[in-house]
């Protein structure tokens, strides 16, 4: 049965974390003032602080939550579909494709194209995954073939990206900064289009999450239980890729969330990951909002790349969960 208590606790944690993230920064604004401003109550902040809350921090926090939820959920789905605990959302070339798209935009001599970086990154990611599907043949008859073609397509895209970087050395810094991920470009317009795509993809994944149990079995067993395994895999991977490509185009490549969070939730809930997909999304959102809070406050006023924080915090935590899991033979 669905453990609603865990989901409720994860929701509460996310709300608190988001509140704290809006409150903390180079200009400290109290939690109560943040709440008053958000709810537009009397004695809400005005002037500069109001702009900081509503136009700078809030869109960034909301985007962080969306990206974290997208990456964590996609990671959990990829791990289930590919029967591989190390699968991450970038597995099928989404990261390399998006990286290539972003590099093309950043190395372009036309300024107009550079401003279209998110679009280029999104198209690059989606095209790379579609190419992986196409090359694997039989449209996903065999998950391992798809996985291998994803690796090949990813390597090819990275090779072109490196070539372009070498040809345009002035673009090296912005490209690397993008590769390490950041949420500085967050604005309400980025938040709104990200929310549409990520919301749509997550709605699909949540709706099929219970059926994903069947993909943990062999295709023959799934078929006998009334599932069309090939169709469900295409559906699930398609939605997870849409969420990932949107996240990457909005915030660059943020590693580790897609692997750490599903394992973390599984370690805590001791349930099959896809049965706690909503909790995975909520924890992913909290994790990334916290990581971004660390990224912008630890060396304030300078900012650390968010990928550094996710790996710095995520890696030891992941090892801890892994060790406890091994002890429990889980």
């Amino acid at each position: 049965m669905w453990n609603w208590r865990i989901t409720a606790a994860c929701t509460l944690i996310l709300i608190l974390v988001m509140g704290a993230a809006v409150s903390f920064g180079p200009i400290h604004i109290s939690f109560q003032q943040v709440l008053r401003t958000l709810l537009d109550l009397p004695s809400a902040e005005h002037g500069e602080n109001r702009t900081v809350i509503l136009q700078l921090r809030l869109p960034r926090v909301v985007l962080g939550a969306l990206v974290g939820a997208a990456l964590a959920t996609s990671g959990a789905v990829y791990q289930t579909v590919f029967h591989n605990p190390l699968a991450d959302p970038y597995l099928l070339g989404a990261a390399s494709g998006a990286g290539l798209g972003a590099t093309i935009a950043l190395t372009s001599t036309h300024h107009n194209i550079a401003s279209l970086l998110p679009v280029f990154a999104f198209l690059g990611g989606v095209l790379a995954v579609l190419t992986s599907f196409f090359i694997s043949g039989k449209f996903f008859a065999e998950p391992n073939t798809l996985l291998l073609s994803g690796i090949a397509v990813g390597s090819f895209a990275t090779a072109i990206q490196t070539y372009l970087q070498q040809r345009h050395s002035d673009a090296l810094r912005p490209v690397y900064s993008w590769i390490l991920g950041d949420l500085t470009s967050a604005s309400w317009s980025v938040v709104s289009w990200s929310a549409i795509y990520i919301g749509f993809a997550l709605a699909i994944l949540f709706s099929v999450s219970k059926q994903l149990d069947g993909l943990m079995l062999s295709d023959e067993e799934a078929f006998s239980l009334g599932i069309n395994p090939q169709r469900l895999r295409i559906f699930a991977v398609g939605a997870a890729t849409l969420a990932t490509a949107t996240a990457v185009s909005a915030s660059g490549l943020i590693g580790f969330v897609g692997i750490v969070v599903p394992h973390l939730v599984r370690g805590i809930t001791r349930r099959v990951t896809n049965r706690s997909l909503v909790s995975v999304a909520l924890v992913g959102a909290s994790f990334l909002v916290l990581a971004d809070l660390g990224a912008r406050t630890l060396l304030s006023p300078a900012e650390l790349p968010i990928g550094v924080i996710t790996a710095f915090v995520g890696a030891p935590f992941f090892l801890f969960v892994l060790r406890s899991r091994r002890k429990a033979n889980f």
Partner: protein, 260 residues
């Protein structure tokens, strides 16, 4: 549950790429009985089993209750694979409950299903470990969990791929006795099996396959005592009859397995 009639296979051919894995298969498999597919490795037993499930494309015809089986998910079938994928983080009772998914809907559990699963867990001696993870089960326990899930499906037809391979004799008998519960309920059972002696002990019908073709089929008694059985195994088996009348089939000592 319907126990008369049969699954009718006519001129069946199955290809993997250019290679024909099954050729000219014509056979009738009776409903409500246990039929065993036997034969050497590579004979096409597992392919025939998966084709009967309806997942493998084929030429020819397989009719079950007047319906072609390919991609037909209206049939009530349970499939027990030889090497199952073990879902991480799933408890034994959740695993057995998967068998109710088609009836209850995914992620839902009716009260009837909960009671039935509890009953099945007791029946298959898994009740004490219902909260353990399936990844913690031994080979014999995992096989029982697979059969328990199949029982929970309340199937009309169960397909088992080598249900006793990799089990010691004690566990082989335990698993086969559990499958017999289904036979008593009138479920059609089709299994592949390497051990012809065990096949003769449990199944009513035996189909002997070699190189993608059916060499011999009939009741267990007819097939075991047929002179063609030895030919099917290149004369590398001996058939003995015990005082109890039970046949025992063993590899012939005079023809080492690796000799030509």
């Amino acid at each position: 549950m319907m126990t008369s009639g049969s699954i009718t296979v006519t001129d069946l051919v199955v290809h993997y790429g250019e290679r024909a894995i099954l050729r000219d298969i014509n056979v009738q498999i009776p409903h409500g009985q246990w039929t065993c597919l036997v034969g050497p490795n590579g004979a096409g037993k597992t392919t025939l089993l998966k084709t009967l499930l309806g997942m493998t494309p084929y030429a020819g015809s397989i009719q079950d209750r007047s319906q072609e089986v390919f991609k037909n998910q209206t049939r009530n079938i349970a499939f027990v694979p030889q090497s199952p994928s073990i879902p991480q983080g799933m408890s034994v009772s959740e695993y057995v409950m998967l068998g109710r998914s088609k009836k209850d809907g995914w992620g839902k559990e009716s009260k009837k299903s909960r009671n039935l699963v509890k009953e099945i867990l007791v029946q298959t001696a898994l009740f004490g470990m219902h909260n353990s993870f399936v990844s913690q089960l031994s080979g014999g326990e995992m096989q029982r969990a697979l059969i328990a899930r199949a029982l929970a499906q309340e199937p009309d037809l169960i397909l088992l791929d080598e249900p006793t391979s990799a089990l010691d004799l004690h566990h082989q008998i335990a698993v086969l006795n559990t499958i017999e519960i289904l036979k008593e309920r009138g479920v059609t059972i089709i299994s592949t099996m390497h051990d012809i002696t065990l096949a003769a002990m449990y199944a009513q019908n035996i189909i002997v396959m070699q190189s993608g073709k059916i060499l011999l089929s009939g009741t267990a008694d007819q097939v075991i005592h047929s002179p063609e059985l030895k030919a099917a195994f290149d004369n590398r088996i001996d058939v003995f009859t015990l005082d109890t009348g039970r046949p025992v089939i063993v590899a012939s000592k005079d023809f080492p397995i690796n000799s030509q």
